[in-house]
Symmetry: C2
Subunit: 596 residues, 2 copies
């Protein structure tokens, strides 16, 4: 049975020494949230995840969810865990104080999300979706809607969903057909079928707040004719408590590869009462508000699963005796050496570790920009921060989840045959990780978003927020006798990224397929360079601290060694990606569709 | 529900035009097995796989195997499919005629194995293991053992297993403790527990022939004290029919990530009667005979699953309408364009296709060397052929299965959310493919076998059988105006492979961890170059045939385009791998075990 221990030391290091968290405390409303306060929150979350969520992760997978006469039940333990989650106030952590939230920085939510996903991804889906619904309502809802629905979403007493997909449309939402017909009281009657609705029905809360994309009778076709509605499972009594059923029926739940404790529902809306959120035919805006937050959260799922898989692979590699070291016996009193002596095992562990720590730093770095976007008094700083988040969102979503899948698989492999057996829990991490590459915009769509929207936006303005600071850091560090071993390979890879960027932008002007064909390789390259940036920063910090370090000496020593591994063993993937990109779209598109 | 159509046209092309199959017909005993005969065999196998095995693949996964009072039952349909398999004579295809086999070339068995694995991997485990047992007995068993056990293994009336692993030892068989005590009649009493025994118990045959590694009372410790025994589930009556139970008990079956219709058993042997196969304390020889055949067969599992996943992803990509082409509407009469217009979807499909066709050619090329090893009158040719097979075995096993997993995942991804749902069948291919990277020697072990045993063997003699012909082909083709676009990138990658080889051999002399740290990257690089060799050959054939091609014009056109894709879009991975290898073992081994 796997175990989980939240990486609090590493989180503290990132907050204190890498991402300059303290600058958040000067933002309006954040004065009280210094690093010590932040760490005490994270310690509480860690305890909850380790002691409440992780112990029900495996039985959640084994039992799955069940549906009986349209009512979905979650696996044993989920309901009481959710009640504790609500009682402890976690749903409100970073929610707006105006609606009962605790107003903590979003950066901390990222760290908490990593822990929740690591300990129990299926459980994390419930509050994750609720947060998306909360956020869309907060940004786009009218005041009365907010007053009615937000407080209970903030406490977690009610949960939320995002109802976008229909059988004929996933990526291409322009094809959706769910109807919204005006009712005399200003509300709308929603009718249609939605599929793949995570947490679409369950037994954890006494109401569910669905955010539904639908089409008004006179709406233009395509995505410009889509509006967003709030449609509760139960209508409310005058006192605000749930009353009559609202015609939302869970038709079935899917049998999935993983996240089996998260019910994925087919929902039928039949003249369900809904209220417009935002303007008519501008539903995609609200959808993107939900999606962008959700995309970053999904990235954290990749990281979380990679972290828990790493921890278990490490302990297996230290405990399991098998074979002898190539360089001589290391465990003479035992019948064999532990797996961790073998270079190929260590290569896998170092790879996962280097990804996890780099990704953790990057995610919290992005998190601080969300806080700056929301709180900074200067609109120019707010806009810059938002642009940086917009640039990094597809990278965090796709690169983190691709690596989440790769890393959980590497961790499984270390277990050998036992990795393939359910009771060891490793194969669940792999199955759970697989969905993150798909939902909230499949990773190919993220790559297209990066090359098709983010690169060309405002004449390449978004790129600057990543390229300029990195250029400066490299110019400074590449001369430094201690840092140049890290800065030089990164500078080389960064140059490749810049060349690839130019190549794609130029080529795509005459043939958009060039951008499409390069997109996935380009996003991967960007992710590698972005992690390289984090590793350069971390190496710099740890090199500076090592000479005087006492209790945390081994921590900084490991950081430096892991940085070296990243630069020499992971970053070179850039070279193959670069060569592929530069080969252009021709070889990809040459074969006619009939030839396949 | 997925479908499968065996790639007979491509197999015919490989046999006829790429691997010079016809030269096998000059080998003793193979005169009757020309290409036409071969193709009629493959057509029969195709029909069986498509019509009998594939339709029960999905329910096999859903039902799984069950155990009741030590007796294992297979999912519905498996028993009757197995009976048809036996009645049709497939188990005997390439078995020795002296024991009732049909004596077909081994090369054809490779092609048949691809089809069986593609259509139903779990089913394929039963005859696969039987073949391993058959082969070990054939090579190492005494005449009376062969006469008693081989004929029914050849007909498939009885099945076989390989009982190696114990709870404390998987890779490191030296740690095994199962005992073999001499009995007065020359047989032995076998006592011990084995785990992970595929097809260890089931309801398909009325006897099971276990090949069991065990230790004699006076045996030296470690792998030099292991002997191989044949231990049937039921002892035989005087007339050769199964009689009394032989103390072999199935204790439990594993709950696995995939191949759920293949029972993975814990077997307890309690004073079970066994007979020594081969010499005492030389059991590892027999084990390697089984393992080497099994490793190549496992490689075919990767290819087979990649092929069936490809076929289904192609039809989904052609049928599913979602989004519009970046270069303008391609399906104006429909609400959207089919997925296959999107460059990123095409990139995935081309990658899978290029792997499948390259791997198919390579596997059959290796197959012809097995036939030459077994049948060629000249011992020098036999030895050369065997050495080539020994070199390629870890590459076929590990590279094919790593790619099998990657390709099934790429195919799943094309389905979007539907790929994650059971009924579409794609996630089963992924789960089934995952085990092939682990069993019969985890892929890290294959990589160590390549760098630690195969590279240094006989002063690098084995490498010559791959390096020399490729050098010659490149020298010839790199000058050719039509071929140089294929030969040049391959020559560059081949040079990298040669450099990496020298680097590893040199470095490993002073520090064996250098070989271990480079091993996985090196094997991958070797696999890429080996597939490149196949693609160069195929491009040469198709370029020569295209000008006069009529009915198969589009076939050769597609070959050339796929060759181009491989050389420009897949082979460049070599560059990143090369840089990683050249960074040496230092960064991999720097962090102390306690630092993890």
């Amino acid at each position: 049975m796997p175990t989980y221990k939240a990486p609090l030391d590493d989180m503290k290091f990132v907050l204190n020494d890498v991402i300059d968290y303290s600058r958040l405390t000067s933002l309006p409303g954040y004065a009280d949230f210094d690093v010590d306060t932040a760490m005490s929150v994270l310690e509480g979350a860690a305890q909850f995840c380790e002691e409440v969520l992780h112990p029900i992760n495996q039985n959640g997978d084994a039992e799955g969810c069940h549906i009986d006469h349209g009512a979905v039940t979650t696996p044993s333990g989920f309901k009481s865990a959710y009640q504790k989650y609500v009682e402890s106030g976690w749903p409100a952590l970073s929610a707006d104080e105006a609606f009962g939230g605790q107003g903590f920085p979003q950066t901390l939510r990222f760290a908490v999300e990593e822990m929740i996903c690591a300990s129990n991804l299926s459980f994390g889906m419930f509050p994750g979706l609720s947060h998306g619904a909360y956020h869309a309502l907060l940004m786009h809802g009218a005041d009365d809607l907010k007053a009615t629905w937000l407080p209970k979403l903030v406490t977690g007493e009610w949960s939320g969903t995002m109802c976008l997909t229909e059988a004929q449309c996933g990526t291409d939402l322009g094809l959706l057909t769910t109807k919204a017909e005006p009712r005399s009281d200003g509300s709308h009657a929603i009718t249609g079928n939605k599929i793949f609705i995570s947490a679409g029905d369950h037994d954890l809360t006494d109401n569910i707040v669905h955010l539904v994309l639908a089409r008004l009778p006179d709406a233009p076709s395509g995505i410009k004719g889509i509006s967003l509605f709030i449609v509760p499972k139960f209508l409310l009594h005058a006192d605000g408590t749930p009353g009559a059923a609202n015609g939302v029926r869970c038709v079935s739940i899917e049998h999935k590869m993983g996240i089996k404790a998260s019910p994925t529902c087919v929902l039928a809306f039949e003249h369900s009462v809904g209220w417009l959120v935002g303007e008519t035919n501008k539903g995609m805006r609200g959808m993107f508000t939900m999606m962008n937050a959700a995309r970053l959260a999904v990235g954290m799922q990749g990281l979380g699963l990679s972290e828990v898989a790493y921890q278990n692979a490490v302990s297996y590699a230290k405990d399991r005796l098998q074979g002898r070291s190539l360089t001589g016996v290391k465990n003479p009193s035992g019948p064999a050496d532990p797996l961790i002596v073998h270079p190929d095992v260590r290569r896998s562990l170092m790879t996962i570790r280097a990804f996890n720590e780099g990704a953790r730093a990057l995610s919290l770095w992005v998190g601080t920009h969300i806080d700056m976007h929301e709180k900074h008094p200067d609109p120019a700083v707010r806009k810059d921060a938002d642009d940086f988040v917009a640039l990094m969102t597809p990278i965090v979503k796709a690169y983190f989840t691709d690596m989440g899948f790769e890393c959980t698989n590497m961790a499984l492999q270390i277990y050998g045959g036992h990795g393939y057996i359910r009771e060891y829990g490793m194969e669940q991490f792999v199955r759970d990780a697989r969905i993150a590459q798909i939902y909230e915009g499949a990773n190919g769509i993220q790559a297209l978003d990066l090359v098709g929207r983010k690169l060309p936006a405002e004449g390449g303005r978004l790129l600057r927020f990543f390229f300029h600071p990195l250029s400066e850091r490299l110019q400074r560090t590449v001369q430094d006798p201690q840092l140049k071993e890290f800065a030089e390979p990164l500078a080389k890879s960064f140059a490749r990224l810049q060349q690839a960027t130019q190549f794609i932008v130029m080529k795509a002007m005459s043939n958009p397929d060039e951008a499409g064909a390069a997109s996935t390789d380009y996003l991967r390259m960007f992710g590698l360079v972005a992690l390289g940036d984090m590793w350069l920063r971390m190496a710099e910090v740890s090199l500076a601290k090592l000479p005087t370090a006492t209790g945390d000496r081994s921590f900084h020593d490991a950081k430096i060694k892991t940085a070296r591994f990243f630069m020499t063993k992971m970053l070179p993937e850039v070279h193959g990606l670069f060569a592929r990109i530069m080969a252009g779209a021709g070889p990809v598109m040459a074969l006619e569709a009939e030839g396949f």
